[in-house]
């Protein structure tokens, strides 16, 4: 099993490398370069030339990328053009805050969506099912920024129970000490995910309820409650967990929007500002972080599959054995 993990990690390194290359090239293709954005409209041509020379933009693109890559391998992500601080430091400060928001949103989504999906599957095609389906579709179709605005209007203006600005502070502890200020961002981040997860859980349970092994369980006199939780739910979980892993980047992306809506000092706000000011090192750094999160998410999902499904377990371990032999 460790061999499988090792191989997946190597693959992950390749993916991250490719993401860095593609992002680098795409930024290079943007017209104008970062100098104008950083120095402002008043900058003279000499100042711009000086900036380009200082940051190596007068070099051929492969030289630029090589420089970037060698520094990256030493753990140096470069320095922000505008924030006067290394990108590594900025990410170290802000990543935990975004993770807090992401994890909280995901947990909320799971807690609401999975029971809802199972309940819908058990009472499928009932009035309750149709109502839940309608609501989740509306939620799914609502953009994150719009949901955030709605939440702000309803819960800070019409019925002012929560603050409109997210929790502020340096450390996670500080943020957690203002739980009321985290409620709206977490809900906004969970919104679309709840819809997707519950649809998925419903479909998965409905499929499994129609499986032959359920009929076998029924024929041997197994109580319906046991059939649902011991048989169907565990089988449904395999596909739900797989989807969870692939949803990590989606939730992460949603958090980025939520942060800018609630002025939450995380990676999203950083990315938003970097994009507006052409702060290339920060942009590249954040994109790499998202790439790593995606890869890690799917790896975790696969490992969870390994724990749940004995079929995957034997297939994986025997494949690893075979790889060792050849």
């Amino acid at each position: 099993m460790w061999r499988v993990v090792l191989r997946r990690l190597l693959l992950a390194a390749v993916v991250v490398f490719l993401v860095s290359l593609i992002t680098f090239l795409l930024l290079h293709l943007l017209p104008g370069g970062p100098a104008r954005g950083v120095l402002g409209p008043e900058a003279t041509p000499q100042q711009i030339e000086q900036f380009n020379h200082d940051h190596g933009f007068d070099q051929p693109v492969h030289v630029q990328y090589w420089d970037y890559l060698t520094r990256l391998l030493r753990g140096d992500l470069g320095a922000s053009y505008t924030l006067n601080s290394p990108v590594g430091t900025l990410l170290a400060q802000r990543l935990p805050r975004t993770l807090l928001l992401t994890v909280a949103s995901t947990l909320l989504a799971i807690l609401v969506a999975l029971p809802l999906g199972v309940a819908q599957a058990v009472r499928r095609n009932s009035r309750f099912d149709y109502l839940a389906t309608g609501l989740t579709f509306v939620l799914y179709a609502t953009p994150v920024f719009f949901l955030s605005l709605l939440l702000i209007i309803v819960f800070t203006q019409l019925w002012p129970v929560f603050p409109a600005q997210a929790a502020q502070g340096e450390s996670i502890g500080e943020l957690l000490s203002q739980p009321r200020s985290l409620v709206l961002p977490v809900i906004a981040g969970a919104g679309a995910t709840v819809a997707a997860f519950s649809r998925y859980a419903r479909a998965s349970v409905v499929d499994n309820l129609a499986e032959d092994y359920v009929r076998t369980a029924r024929a041997k006199g197994t109580p319906e409650r046991v059939i649902l939780w011991r048989h169907v739910w565990r089988n449904s979980l395999t596909s739900v967990v797989a989807m969870l892993g692939y949803y990590v980047p989606v939730i992460f992306g949603g958090a980025l929007v939520v942060e800018s809506m609630f002025n939450y000092p995380g990676v999203g706000l950083l990315l938003w500002n970097a994009a507006r000011t052409s702060d290339y090192p920060v942009l590249l750094g954040v994109v790499l972080v998202i790439a790593v999160a995606t890869v890690v998410g799917s790896l975790l999902a696969d490992l969870a599959q390994l724990l749940i499904d004995p079929r995957v377990r034997t297939a994986q371990s025997s494949r690893a054995k075979g790889a060792g032999r050849s």
């Binding site: 032959d212 009929r215 076998t216 024929a219 006199g221 046991v226 048989h231 089988n235 075979g322």
Partner: protein
């Protein structure tokens, strides 16, 4: 366990009717069926697909879909099952009557161990005190031992995917036996299994009846299985019970026309020899003489073989790293105009061989020649011309025809691919072929889903033959069809073979079908051809032990002969019983 007196049947079904409520109105699946199953009795329900036999079986334990409306009476051990709901019903399921299902691959939960699934069945019907004190695992070991699974302690900890199909079915039977039911309902319990495995499962069911006195309601479409095991037979058609009689009487003197037709349609192993020996069946004899001529000519070596495989190796990469050899140095020669039956159990490599002959799989080693041309080198224009000489019919007609093409378009497609540009010519050929497979002009503009299974397979046959190929590969062409439909498809195939004189590689797991249509038979096992020779030699006087076992295990739809064969098999060999 509630006691029943001697004359009270274990199961009594009175005027059972089942309707399914669908969006297009109610559909009647079963109407007015009445029968009884007594202790120590094996009652078979036979019928073709859609006859309502499975619905009847499922109704007994109320396992039908929620849209089923069941009426009539079902008395199980004197209790009205249809009046039971919820917890009362649960207590009956698995305890008074248990079920065995068709697909052992899917009937068990893939995420639970064999042991967990067996123990659960027992715990479902145990009292709270028993749950604390009973040693369920020890009982599970005994059950697995009872159904003939070796190393039961180790198997208990394994998952379903680690067992073979036959062993899984034995586990399903163990689950069914776990609460000592008075009735076992077996719904096509051997349909998904190889014949040698089937023989073992049927022996087990018979043994359970003999030692425990359990009644068995057996649902099957296979007349051979019925002849082998049943005491009494119910024949169903279109949801109605058309005849019921003791097994020997039913086979000897069927009283209903449908039963007679059904029995006549079943190919019987060895029947062709009887017919030709006594000179009764002139038709079959004619075909034999005809194709005999065709196949004896090329043996002089003048014409190249229609298909020639030389030391062909095909291996698949498996999870275990070592490649599985699907074909292991296989050599085979098929003369022009010859009809060769390729038989073997699942996984023997017979379909892989067929795909090699079509060039769909490129062998890892060895050579495949079609009419003297190596397939490996046939590319471009020459390759296209060569492929025009090949036709193919697959097992499942429902999935091998494009659902968006009409019948005429399906049949005309090979002509388009091979650049027959004249529209009138194409139409003429399509009409000619559809006529040859006995499909009238009414079906030309219909879509595959509007046809029956047998009609669809005849469309496949027409499509395969529209280019007038000289080699036809038919991979289990009738396995998905009901017997009466199979009979027509086989008739059409043998007639066209006689008229058009193509060579045919006929792949099948059914020895009786091969016996009915082929002149020569090759037997495959584990990627090798272990025996190859004239049909009669192979099927009556095989050189290999495995072939003899295969022949012995295929049940014959004749109770008297089958009893004798079973005796022979029991005397001859005991290997394979645990498969």
């Amino acid at each position: 366990m509630s006691a029943t007196s001697d004359n009270e049947p274990v199961l009594r079904v009175d005027g059972l009717s089942v309707d399914f409520r669908t969006s297009s109105g109610p559909v009647t699946a079963v109407s007015g069926v009445s029968f009884a199953v007594r202790e120590r009795e094996i009652v078979a329900v036979v019928g073709e697909s859609g006859s309502g036999k499975s619905t009847t079986a499922m109704a007994v334990l109320q396992l039908l879909a929620p849209n089923a409306h069941v009426s009539g009476g079902i008395q199980l051990l004197g209790r009205d099952v249809l009046a039971l709901r919820g917890e009362q019903l649960r207590r009956v399921r698995g305890k008074d009557a248990a079920m065995i299902f068709q697909e052992p691959m899917t009937a068990l939960n893939p995420l639970h161990t064999i042991g967990a699934q067996l123990v659960e069945a027992m715990r479902n019907h145990a009292t709270p005190q028993e749950r604390r004190s009973r040693d369920f695992r020890a009982e599970a070991v005994r059950l697995l031992h009872r159904v003939g699974i070796p190393e039961p302690e180790r198997r208990l900890r394994q998952y379903p995917h680690q067992l073979s199909g036959g062993q899984r079915q034995r586990v399903v039977i163990a689950v069914a036996l776990s609460c000592r039911p008075r009735l076992i309902i077996a719904d096509e319990p051997t349909t998904a299994l190889d014949v040698t495995v089937q023989a073992g499962i049927l022996d087990l069911l018979r043994d359970i009846r003999d030692t425990d006195g359990t009644a068995v309601l057996l649902i099957t479409h296979n007349m051979g299985v019925v002849a082998d095991i049943a005491d009494r037979v119910l024949v169903m058609r279109h949801g109605e019970l058309v005849e019921q009689a003791g097994t020997e009487r039913l086979f000897a003197a069927p009283s209903h026309d449908y039963t007679r037709a059904l029995l006549a349609a079943v190919p019987k192993l060895g029947d062709r020899d009887r017919a030709t020996d006594s000179g009764v069946d002139g038709d079959t004899k004619a075909s034999e003489v005809d194709t005999g001529n065709a196949s004896s000519e090329p043996d002089t070596g003048a014409a190249p073989a229609a298909l020639e495989l030389t030391d062909v190796v095909v291996s698949y990469a498996t999870g275990r790293g070592t490649g599985l050899r699907a074909l292991d140095r296989v050599s085979l020669r098929l003369a022009p105009g010859e009809m060769l039956g390729l038989v073997g159990e699942s996984g023997s490599g017979k379909s892989t061989l067929g795909q090699c002959a079509l060039g769909l799989i490129t062998p890892d080693a060895g050579e495949v020649r079609v009419f003297g041309t190596p397939l490996r080198r046939a590319r471009g224009r020459a390759g296209r011309a060569l492929r025009g000489q090949l036709g193919v019919v697959f097992q499942d007609p429902a999935s091998s025809l494009d659902p968006r093409m009409t019948v005429a378009q399906c049949v005309a497609e090979p002509l388009l691919v091979h650049r027959v540009r004249d529209r009138a010519e194409r139409a003429r050929r399509v009409a000619e072929l559809l006529d040859a497979v006995e499909l009238g002009s009414a079906v030309h503009h219909r879509f595959p889903h509007e046809l029956s299974g047998g009609q669809r397979q005849r469309v496949s046959l027409a499509r395969a033959l529209v280019l007038r190929p000289k080699l036809l590969v038919a991979d289990e062409p009738t396995s998905a069809l009901d017997v009466s439909v199979q009979a027509t498809v086989l008739d059409v195939l043998t007639r066209l073979h006689r008229e058009l004189g193509f060579a045919c590689l006929f792949i099948s797991h059914d020895l009786a079908v091969v016996d009915a249509v082929c002149d020569r038979v090759a037997v495959m096992r584990a990627g090798r051809i272990i025996e190859d020779g004239p049909r009669r030699d192979i099927l009556t006087n095989a050189g290999q032990e495995y072939t003899r076992q295969l022949v012995m295990s295929s049940p014959v739809p004749d109770p008297v002969r089958q009893r004798r064969r079973r005796g022979d098999r029991a005397a001859g060999t005991t290997t394979g019983a645990a498969r």
